[in-house]
């Protein structure tokens, strides 16, 4: 059965969840003017690597990347799957920790952090146990519930936009590429698409249809940065940790019964992030399951969740989260570069062998 819709939806949801929190402030911090340059660079890199990855995967119909790497021998498994696994674990840890901190900063000021983190891990854990099909079906449900609202919020967020803030447009200074904040912005760019290689054969999809998802994700990259930028101007927006959230706070709609639409926006994004976490947990668990087939997947997910929860509890403050972002960027770039390319070349290699 073709489940392209589910895959496209999942792709959109996880990316939206990743984009709207830390990405805007990372980009705004990275350069003084012409923010569209770093954004487009990121988008181009994203699209190229996704396309290469998809092309590579299309050489191996109905196989996931674990099967692909293991068919080429143990070396590949260690060279590629081990970093992927480590990346997943660290990504989940960072995501859970960072988003729980975001939740406490933005609206749960009185709730203890451990409770927020427990919630953020428990639901993904539950989903991950149910398996990949459950995760994707939930994705469809969640998108029905929250996407219309999200679109509405995005439209009304133009309320306080002042187009003059778009200038100056051009920037000759390309030093943003080496700035840590720009490197951190790749958390949103490279974080979400690896699942495309994991879900086969359980969920089959047409590779071409993923292109549709770009149409939703690319505007999200741009709007998440430009709405706060045009509402506040660069000099003000750079003082915020979550510029997009603040930009939403400025929306005044007297005919809406809720005073703060922000909370609804945030909660829908948090559900997207929960999906993302459950997906990553599930991916990490099947990697382990492949190397240790004797252990039941349920126990793997339980122990992974437990380890991640403990790791989250050990991170005391926002400074440390930033630090982890920095350390994680090595793994992030390794995974971003090597996985799509290696799959692509292995695909070519196997094609030659066949003929």
């Amino acid at each position: 059965m073709d489940r392209s819709v589910q895959v496209v939806m999942m792709y959109i949801l996880t990316h939206l969840g990743l984009i709207f929190f830390l990405y805007p402030s990372n980009i705004i911090e990275s350069t003084d003017q012409g923010h569209w340059i770093p954004i487009s660079l990121g988008i181009v890199i994203h699209i190229i690597f996704v396309l290469v990855y998809l092309k590579g995967l299309s050489f191996f119909p109905r196989r996931n990347i674990i099967m692909i790497y293991s068919s080429f021998g143990k070396v590949y498994l260690i060279l590629f799957l081990l970093p992927i696994f480590l990346y997943f674990i660290s990504a989940v840890t960072i995501t859970v920790r960072a988003y729980s901190e975001i939740l406490t900063i933005i609206f749960l000021a009185n709730t203890p952090l451990w409770a927020v983190m427990a919630l953020l891990l428990f639901i993904p854990f539950f989903l991950a146990i149910q398996g990949v099909q459950a995760i994707f079906r939930t994705g469809i449900l969640v998108s029905f519930l929250f996407l219309p609202f999200l679109v509405f919020i995005l439209i009304v967020s133009f309320q306080n936009v002042d187009a003059s803030y778009i200038y100056p447009l051009w920037n000759n200074d390309f030093s943003f590429m080496t700035k840590q904040s720009y490197i951190n912005s790749f958390f949103a760019i490279s974080g979400g698409f690896l699942f495309l290689g994991f879900i086969q054969p359980e969920i089959s999809y047409k590779h071409k249809k993923i292109v549709i998802a770009f149409a939703a994700v690319v505007p999200a990259f741009i709007l998440s940065v430009y709405i706060p930028l045009l509402t506040f101007g660069k000099a003000t927006a750079e003082t915020f940790l979550f510029p997009f959230v603040l930009a939403l706070d400025t929306i005044t709609l007297s005919w809406i019964m809720f005073d703060r639409a922000t909370v609804f926006f945030l909660l829908s994004l948090i559900t997207f992030i929960m999906l993302f976490i459950s997906l990553v947990l599930w991916k990490a668990s099947i990697i382990i399951h492949h190397s240790l087939p004797s252990i039941k997947p349920v126990y793997i997910v339980v122990s992974l969740t437990f380890v991640i929860y403990i790791a989250c509890l050990l991170i005391p403050n926002w400074q440390q989260v930033q630090m982890l972002f920095k350390w994680n960027s090595v793994l992030r770039f390794y995974v971003l570069l090597t996985v799509p390319l290696s799959i692509y070349f292995l695909g070519h290699l196997s094609k030659k062998k066949v003929y």
């Binding site: 609206f107 000099a235 603040l246 706070d249």
Partner: protein, 356 residues
């Protein structure tokens, strides 16, 4: 089977965590001030909370005050002393006293933005009066349903185009932005009405630098393309009501000097006439009146170097960002401003207009 039974019997217990009721305070155990007043003391601040109190007959108002070093400390103290917890979530109006505004609002405003306790959408106003008495009179105000200040600034109730309406986030933006300042309304106790508008305070980088009249505030609103509908202008020979307005800008930047030509189109309706002036006369007089006011306003603003009209916004294209930082001091005083007022008499009311 046994396993399923076990799982199902455990499911109801999920109700407790899933309800999300964590150290949650019920709404009847919170007090939600609608407006707060902040005054600068010799050391620290004094805070006034205006809390609507529902009673059996009508909605009353209660004023609670506290003094301390920081706003949060005061709110905390008040919270401790009150029977319920203070929740600033629904604060709609923030009134600061003039002294605090003159010394600078930056710390106060960035505190609000940082903690997100107070909504970034709250309207901010300056009290040009004794703030103690101002809030005291609110408690005694007859028929004031606890929302008197809020109603005054609400667009769908008491707001008028000669009142500047500025929100916390706009004031915050003005203290950081290179090219944008903000005007906030100045109010005092009125003789027969509860409030009286003094004019608007021009806030530059979070500090009060100048006061403009409410007539000038109308021009400020018109410049920013806010509707000035309903405002009545009195001329020597007639009075007219503004029905609609729109503004076009043409910015030029030559020889390091900004030139701005602004065309204001006002559509008006004639309400009353003295004698029988021709439509042309009324038009000319009104254009002249508004033009003079604009010129005076610009002179006033240029001397205070506060760009409440956001004129610098139109030159972001031309001035490089590193120079834009000094827009207020280097370029703005040299601004060549050329306002063009175009008045169109949309209708003459119920009477036919005949000129002799």
């Amino acid at each position: 089977m046994l396993k399923k039974m076990l799982i199902f019997s455990l499911l109801p217990f999920l109700l407790f965590p899933l309800s999300g009721c964590w150290d949650n305070r019920d709404i009847n155990h919170r007090v939600m001030p609608i407006s707060i007043g902040v005054a600068k003391m010799d050391e620290g601040y004094k805070v006034f909370l205006q809390i609507p109190e529902p009673s059996s007959e009508s909605l009353g108002t209660r004023i609670v005050t506290g003094e301390g070093e920081t706003i949060n400390q005061i709110i905390d103290n008040i919270s401790v002393n009150m029977e319920s917890a203070v929740d600033l979530l629904h604060v709609k109006v923030i009134v600061v006293d003039k002294r605090l505004a003159e010394e600078g609002l930056n710390d106060l405003i960035s505190g609000f933005i940082r903690s997100r306790d107070v909504s970034a959408k709250a309207v901010i106003a300056i009290c040009d009066d004794n703030i103690d008495q101002f809030f005291e009179s609110m408690e005694n105000a007859e028929g004031g349903e606890g929302t008197i200040l809020l109603d005054y600034f609400e667009k769908y109730s008491g707001w008028d185009p000669h009142v500047a309406l500025s929100r916390v986030w706009e004031v915050y933006r003005s203290s950081h932005s290179y090219t944008r300042d903000v005007a906030i309304p100045m109010i005092k106790r009125g003789q027969t009405t509860f409030l009286e508008i003094v004019g608007s305070a021009v806030i530059k980088n979070g500090r009060l630098v100048e006061v403009i009249s409410s007539d000038e505030t109308l021009l400020y609103n018109a410049f920013n393309n806010k509707s000035t509908r309903g405002k009545i202008e009195i001329l020597d020979d007639a009075s007219v009501m503004i029905l609609s307005n729109d503004t076009d800008y043409k910015a030029e930047f030559t020889d390091q000097t900004p030139h701005l030509q602004t065309t204001f189109n006002f559509s008006v309706m004639i309400l009353e006439t003295n004698g029988n002036p021709s439509a042309q006369d009324i038009k000319m007089n009104l254009e002249e009146l508004l033009l003079d006011r604009y010129k005076a306003l610009i002179v006033k603003l240029k001397t205070s170097e506060a760009d409440i009209l956001g004129i610098g916004q139109h030159f972001r294209k031309e001035i490089p960002r590193k120079d834009l930082k000094n827009w207020r001091s280097d370029y703005y005083p040299n601004l060549a401003f050329n306002p063009i007022i175009q008045v169109d008499i949309q209708n003459y009311g119920n009477l036919k207009h005949t000129t002799n």
